[in-house]
Amino acid sequence: MALIELDDVRRVYDLGEVKVHALRTVTRQIELGEYIALIGPSGSGKSTLMNTLGCLDRPTHGSYLLDGEEVVTMNRDQRAKIRNKQLGFVFQNFNLLNRTSALENVELPLMYGPRVSARERRDRAMEMLGKVGLADRYHHHPSQLSGGQQQRVAIARALVNRPSILMGDEPTGNLDSRTSREVIELFRELNELQGITVILVTHDQNVARNAKRTLVLRDGEIVEDTVDFQLAKVALEHDPALEE
């Protein structure tokens, strides 16, 4: 059984007069320990797919089995529980809580999970901050940290509940190239050394090249699914409008 099984997943936004098909049909499997990049032009549906995989959004059609459990029929609270337990999120703009220390940001997911003592919560958060190299900055607020540091705090937060999947929505979008490389390196380490499944949405080819498998989306459909980045690049640059 694959970690993620998508079967004819569709997402339609009903805007009253028009219906927008963000995902037309997606049937795909993702195994435990994969490192996947989702690429595609704007409006191709990669963010929608990401939100669907992240249990933030619910498809309007089809089936999504995560670790054998059907997500589509789950209610809000059940999906919240899945997000807390199985998924870690990293965002383009970091999404740390302002005026809240790095340590407390990392502690957050532990507060919404099964009851953990304050001491254990702190210990686990400190351990995670240590792993991303920010143990000495635990009391700093996000405004006192650089972009790269903030993103590393966000990664520590995403991993503190030991999820099986780490999701990144343009995780290097707000970082300069040097800190980007550091973050990419961190993703690779997490995937290779700890076997965490990583799924990233990105525009950055350097990030995508680092992934082991690339899914290219266009108009709500997967048009290429390859382990060879050159093929993905061709598919991405291929413009169907030019064929006519």
């Binding site: 939100n51 992240g54 933030l56 959004d57 809000r76 609270d77 919240a80 529980k81 997000r83 807390n84 337990k85 999120f89 965002f91 999404n95 740390l96 809580l97 005026r99 809240t100 957050l108 997911p109 507060m111 919404y112 999970g113 009851r115 304050a118 937060r157 509940n161």
Partner: protein, 413 residues
């Protein structure tokens, strides 16, 4: 998330906007302070009223002479009660502690060159002091033999001393009442003004027989009122019933006939006055409660603003696994914390204000002895009310926060 963590987070969130938090709670502070003050003053007033009634004589029942029937003509205020009635009420009713007949009179008192018209000249029985729960400051009271012999003795209230005697010790001095000489044998303790403002010390007491025969010159054995005290407040009803039964028997009145007397229980009057002060307090509290309501609306307003401002925070928390009810609880507790802090401050202010009111009343109306009442139940109710305001007005914004869509919330700028 544990309750403690939620409260801690609520405090943290409020401290981020101190000025706003302070302004928001002012409404609740004023509301709770006003309610607390009014309730405290109101309870002081009812305590004062009931205190006055106790001063009238503990558990006093009054028996008035009533109408009589003579050949079909009814007549009120007829002399139907006798000294013997008073005596038998005192001895035969088990719930009665003591009874005394009262015969009123009036007149001028002369001592040396001074004269004075006291408010009350009363002929009373030997047990009068027991009935009224009064005490003597000096001297003694008249005895049974004084009553039997129509002795020309009297006991005077404090007001008469400066009016008549100045520096002379009144004991054993002779005064003349309507030209009849009386010897002063006792002085009553000071009682001050009663609730209507009458000076209760402007009084002269003498044996009822003396008043009737020597001052009023009446040949009859009738009395004006019989004043009775019950053995306890809880025996008032019992005592009143026993008096009625006894008098029905003594006056030979059949069960279908109208009685020629009436029994009045002072607790009834006290209860009526208590209801009046209670209603007033309640009414004023309701008005003050409106300001609490306005304060609650203020909290709701600021919580709505806060939810909008923190949409992104809500989205982040949801992405990390917060359920709707976690978010609901977070915002609800925040508004309850706000209103409870307001309530606590209001309670302190209100207590302070009622203390000030108490001092002012006692300064400007000395002698009223307005009691200070700070009731713990009222404080608990006030705090409970503040918390309820927080829950009531915080629920809608909190619910709105909990219903947000995580994706929309995360994208909110």
């Amino acid at each position: 998330m544990s309750f403690f963590d939620t409260v801690r987070i609520a405090f943290r969130a409020l401290l981020k906007n101190k000025m706003r938090a302070v302004l928001t709670i002012i409404g609740v502070v004023i509301g709770i302070a006003a309610v607390t003050t009014i309730v405290s003053i109101g309870q002081g007033a009812s305590k004062l009223v009931s205190g006055e009634f106790e001063a009238l004589g503990t558990n006093v029942i009054l028996v008035f002479p009533g109408q009589t029937r003579r050949g079909g003509a009814r007549q009120s205020g007829a002399p139907t009660l006798t000294t013997a009635d008073a005596d038998s009420i005192g001895t035969e009713c088990p719930a009665v502690l003591a009874a005394s007949p009262i015969v009123g009179s009036s007149g001028q008192i002369i001592y040396g060159n001074e004269n004075w018209n006291p408010k009350q000249i009363q002929g009373v029985g030997q047990d009068y002091l027991t009935v009224r729960n009064w005490e003597l400051e000096a001297g003694g009271f008249f005895s049974t033999s004084d009553i039997e012999s129509n002795a020309k003795v009297c006991v005077i209230g404090q007001t008469l001393i400066p009016k008549l005697f100045r520096t002379v010790n009144p004991l054993d001095e002779m005064i003349r009442v309507n030209n009849v000489p009386f010897r002063v044998i006792g002085i009553l303790g000071k009682k001050g003004a009663n609730m209507v403002g009458d000076d209760q010390d402007d009084v002269v007491l003498m044996p009822h027989t003396t008043v009737r025969k020597r001052l009023n010159g009446s040949p009859l054995d009738n009395v004006g009122i019989i004043m009775v005290s019950a053995r306890g407040t809880n025996q008032m009803g019992e005592a009143a019933k026993q008096i009625e039964t006894l008098l029905y028997e003594r006056h030979e009145i059949g069960p279908s006939e109208e009685p020629d007397f009436s029994v009045q229980d002072t607790t009834e009057i006290a209860a009526t006055l208590g209801i009046i002060t209670g209603t007033l307090t309640l009414m004023l509290s309701a008005i003050a409660g409106i300001s609490l309501l306005v304060g609650g609306v203020g909290i709701m307003n600021i919580m709505l603003v806060s939810v909008t401002e923190r949409t992104r925070e809500i989205g982040i928390r949801m992405a990390l696994g917060a359920r709707g009810k976690d978010i609901l609880r977070q915002f609800l507790i925040e508004s309850v914390v706000l209103s409870c802090i307001g309530g606590a401050i209001g309670l302190l202010l209100g207590t302070g204000a009622s203390m000030c009111a108490n001092v002012l009343i006692n300064v400007y109306k000395p002698g009223t002895d307005w009691p200070m009442v700070i009731s713990i139940p009222a404080a608990v109710v006030a705090m409970g009310f503040a918390a309820a305001v927080g829950v009531f007005f915080g629920y809608y914004p909190a619910r709105r926060a909990s219903k947000l869509d995580p994706i929309d919330a995360l994208r909110y700028e």
